[in-house]
């Protein structure tokens, strides 16, 4: 439980709050990038170098850019005419989220004594991860490859201009 962990946790949670609370959607996307970077640094703090750098590549590099493009293409950064950014049923949503956090936090604090204590730093190299991906996890890897191809084609078809569509 180091100072670095608390600092990273504070940055990540503050970024998350900003991402869902800010009015301008471009600012939300920037706050989302802060969350992704904070999580990648938390992964590095957990000695998961490969997952940390994959997080930076996939989320900061691709998903955040995709979100910014979607915001600009749909002109959502303009605030709605009546000014409100929260839906009519925001109270119920807030209550549900608070209840979920209460249950999760209660479960973590209740089971804290049974959680495993500090273990030695796992010595996992990228070579081991690659061998596991090509050996034991080769079938899931192929399925993910198929899923990514299908998702790419699907996203292009869904967002494609239709024939005869005005503009």
């Amino acid at each position: 439980m180091s100072f670095v962990f608390w600092l990273l946790a504070a940055i990540t949670v503050a970024g998350g709050l900003a991402a869902v609370l800010l009015k301008n959607l471009v600012h939300c996307a920037l706050a989302l990038t802060v969350v992704f970077t904070g999580l990648a640094l938390l992964f590095l703090q957990l000695d998961a170098q490969f997952a940390g750098f994959a997080q930076i590549l996939v989320y900061v590099g691709a998903v955040a850019i995709l979100v910014v493009f979607a915001i600009l293409l749909t002109r959502s950064s303009e605030t709605p005419k009546d000014g409100g950014v929260f839906s009519r049923t925001w109270g119920a949503g807030l209550v549900i989220a608070a209840a979920v956090f209460a249950v999760l936090g209660w479960a973590v604090l209740q089971s804290e004594a049974g959680l495993p204590h500090e273990t030695s730093v796992p010595n996992v190299t990228v070579q081991q991860i690659g061998e596991a991906l090509m050996g034991r996890y080769v079938l899931p890897l192929e399925i993910v490859a198929l899923l990514l191809t299908a998702a790419m084609i699907g996203a292009v078809i869904v967002a494609m201009h239709e024939k005869g569509d005005a503009k």
Partner: protein
């Protein structure tokens, strides 16, 4: 600074808080893109849980939690691409991304 008996509890609480923030964003915001951002936050909180358990549980060299997190990142990327494509497509039809105004389901 030792607030918890084990560092794992700290990571789990941060993940729970991030998940709740994402859920609140997905349930309360009016813009469809913000709902997708909330879903991304929830997926990332789950990933943090997976990595934290991988690190502190016995036998991290088996790489189970790490692999789960890596596949989860790949699936989340596919989800983001399709979701944002859908939002752009809906915006072309309905001229809005406001979820309160989207109350019809016809082409």
């Amino acid at each position: 600074m030792t607030v918890f008996a084990t560092p794992l509890a700290g990571y789990l609480l941060v993940a729970a808080l991030l998940f709740a923030i994402g859920l609140a964003g997905a349930l309360t915001r009016r813009n469809a893109i913000l709902v997708l951002i909330g879903i991304e936050l929830m997926l990332n909180a789950a990933n943090l849980n997976l990595i934290a358990f991988w690190r502190y549980m016995p036998h991290p060299e088996a790489l189970t939690g790490m692999m789960f997190a890596i596949f989860s990142i790949a699936v989340a990327a596919a989800e983001a691409a399709v979701g944002l494509g859908l939002v752009i497509s809906i915006h072309r039809h309905a001229k809005t991304t406001d979820l309160d105004e989207m109350n019809k389901m016809k082409g």
